[in-house]
């Protein structure tokens, strides 16, 4: 026999899965993929801390890269403290549609969303620098039918200039232009990856606040607030720096 208070478990917590959907096509090679690798690697300790200091939900991370086809980094979402980011290389086409298809497949209680304690809506973070080279629209239509996707926090970062990647593709994904950001420089990209990952983790992993219209809206509001606070003058808007 032992005192049950010596053996209590942590309170039942939901899971919030943060998805990184990362473009690793050839055009990302060089500084862009370097900045992505570096930024995701460096934001992980912050996400772990948000997950640890949280009694509402545990954060798990899943990541998919797409170029010629797409692939998951792990075959299941990993708790934040077990997820590690391997430096990924960039090469090939931009098969965004394939990434959407695979995402749709895993956004199911029979796949990635299978926590017995239930889940909060996921947060899905897309990073890309170019036009999709496959039929992404058909897969996006299917994804839009997915209930998990519909309630998810969706956010996208366009890497590079408007000529390379148009906002429309990303707005179709997020459902709102307010959740599409554009990084003109590697420094801005790194800051955005951190800001988006941290904000999505925080908003996504807590019980909703009273009067909250949607997680997506709370997220974009918070993102805008934080951006105004932190945006270093002349950094994100500095278009002089070359990417490659």
């Amino acid at each position: 026999m032992s005192n049950p208070f010596e053996n209590t478990e942590g309170i039942a917590k939901r899971t919030m899965v943060l998805f990184f959907v990362v473009d690793t096509s050839g055009s990302m090679a060089g500084k862009k993929i370097g900045a992505v690798n570096d930024a995701i690697f460096n934001v992980l300790p912050e996400i772990r801390k948000i997950s640890e200091d949280n009694a509402d939900a545990e954060i798990k991370i899943a990541a998919i890269t797409f170029s010629n086809g797409a692939k998951w980094l792990y075959d299941e979402p990993k708790p934040a403290d077990e997820f590690s980011w391997p430096y990924v290389n960039a090469d090939g086409m931009t098969d965004l549609g394939e990434a959407y298809r695979m995402l749709n497949e895993k956004l199911s209680r029979n796949a990635f969303m299978n926590d017995v304690e239930g889940s909060y809506a996921p947060a899905i973070f897309l990073m890309t620098d170019g036009e999709p080279t496959d039929d992404y629209k058909k897969e996006l239509d299917r994804l839009n039918q997915n209930k998990w996707f519909r309630v998810a926090i969706k956010v996208a970062v366009a890497i590079g200039e408007k000529d390379d990647v148009n906002d429309e593709v990303l707005t179709e994904f997020t459902g709102t232009p307010e959740a599409v950001l554009r990084a003109h420089t590697p420094e801005a990209l790194a800051k955005m990856i951190r800001l988006v990952s941290v904000t999505a983790s925080k908003i996504g992993s807590q019980s909703s606040t009273v009067g909250q219209e949607s997680r997506q809206k709370t997220f974009t509001e918070e993102l805008n607030k934080q951006q105004q606070e932190w945006q270093p003058v002349n950094s994100a808007d500095d278009e002089d720096e070359e990417w490659n």
Binding site: M1, S2, N3, P4, F5, E6, T8, E9, G10, I11, A12, K13, R14, E52, D53, N54, A55, D56, R109, M113, V116, E117, G118, S119, Y120, A121, K147, W148, V151, K202, Q206, S207, S208, T209, V210, G211, Q212, S214, R215, E222, K225, Q226, Q228, E229
Partner: protein
Amino acid sequence: MEFKKGHKIKVKGSDEFLTVIGKLGEGGQGIVYRVKYNGCEYALKWFFQQSLKNPQAFLKNLCQNIADGAPARSFLWPILVTEQTEGSFGYLMALRPPEYKSFTDILNAKVRIVKHSARVNAALMIVESFLSLHRQGKSYQDLNDGNFFINPENGDVLICDNDNVAPYGVNLGIAGKCRYMAPEVVMGEKPGMQSDYFSLAVILFLLLFLSHPLEGEKVVKSVCLTDEHEKKHYGSNPVFIFDPKDNSNKPVRGVHNNAIDLWPLYPQFIQEAFIRSFTDGIKSNEKRVSDSEWLRLFIRLRDEIITCGCGCENFASSAKAGDSDELHCLSCGAKMVRPLRLNVQRYSVALYPGNRIYACHTVESSMDFRTETGRVVRSKNHPNLWGIRNLSETSWQAEMPDGSKKVVAPNAVLPIFKNIKVSFGNVSDAKIV
């Protein structure tokens, strides 16, 4: 922007300065720094420029809170505000000593409160804090696990983030988390005293059972807990996990083990208070347990704690043991004697060596649960003979079972026998049963 070490910030309405020593942490609203002021170290909470919906109203409320003073000693209350600089401002408060652990860590079982006495003391301090806040006509606008810090050894509580405290009806533009709010607030009504009672019951339930009172089978079935579902489970259709008339949301073994394992360990009157709070009290605000009622309930619960020879604390009347005379220690399983009780006012103190009686027991209508007025002691020569030492400054009058009278002077001991009647001065209805 972030302040660097050595940065000086002027105190509002004064020539004094705070000097930044380093960063302590960062939240949604701002950054907390360690600062030096008048030779001592403090915490400075510095707000992000954009984080406040109405900074002027917020600042005014903060200054008013500083002028009013801390409602109780457990509040890490704002001490002063800074001048506005860099487009924002901050306020100074005491540093939180490291032995206080966050309630979040306690809920996550990273830190455990093992002793009943520590847990009950934490409950008493939380209730006392609410009571004193309500007496000032104020309430918390964003109550959640992040606000509380508890010393797991003794249950001492510190309450942080007190900038979200405001008079009832004043809206600082801060919305609380659904999981902690009363159903009517989740559904859009303004918070008030009664909704605070609900939130208080949620916090107390979490503290005692390390489970959420409204999260059982029904909630687990919401595989994806969307905002809409949260509104339903915490707002339009909340069901208590131990609702005696509705088992649709009962705790699930494997998910809510704490609730299932810990619920039977508490006395029935505690279970009943939570049942009332989360069944009738869900719809009828007036049926909720008020803060002063909770205070009495936790004084009663503390009166139940008896310590086994192995050092483990037990409740003399846990629901699990029922009415049987047999009481077994939670930890070592040893049989414990069911103690005699001192029935006094609305209380019933288990008379077990080491147990204490307080002013709330012996002084009429006192709510003072800290001033000790008596302690149960064991006779040095006859360990089976127990008595109550008078630690108050007044003499007690006792009527022994044989009808004889006895005066128990301060520091003298009244032997414990069944059917002794005691008068503590203006409280004269006490009886050992």
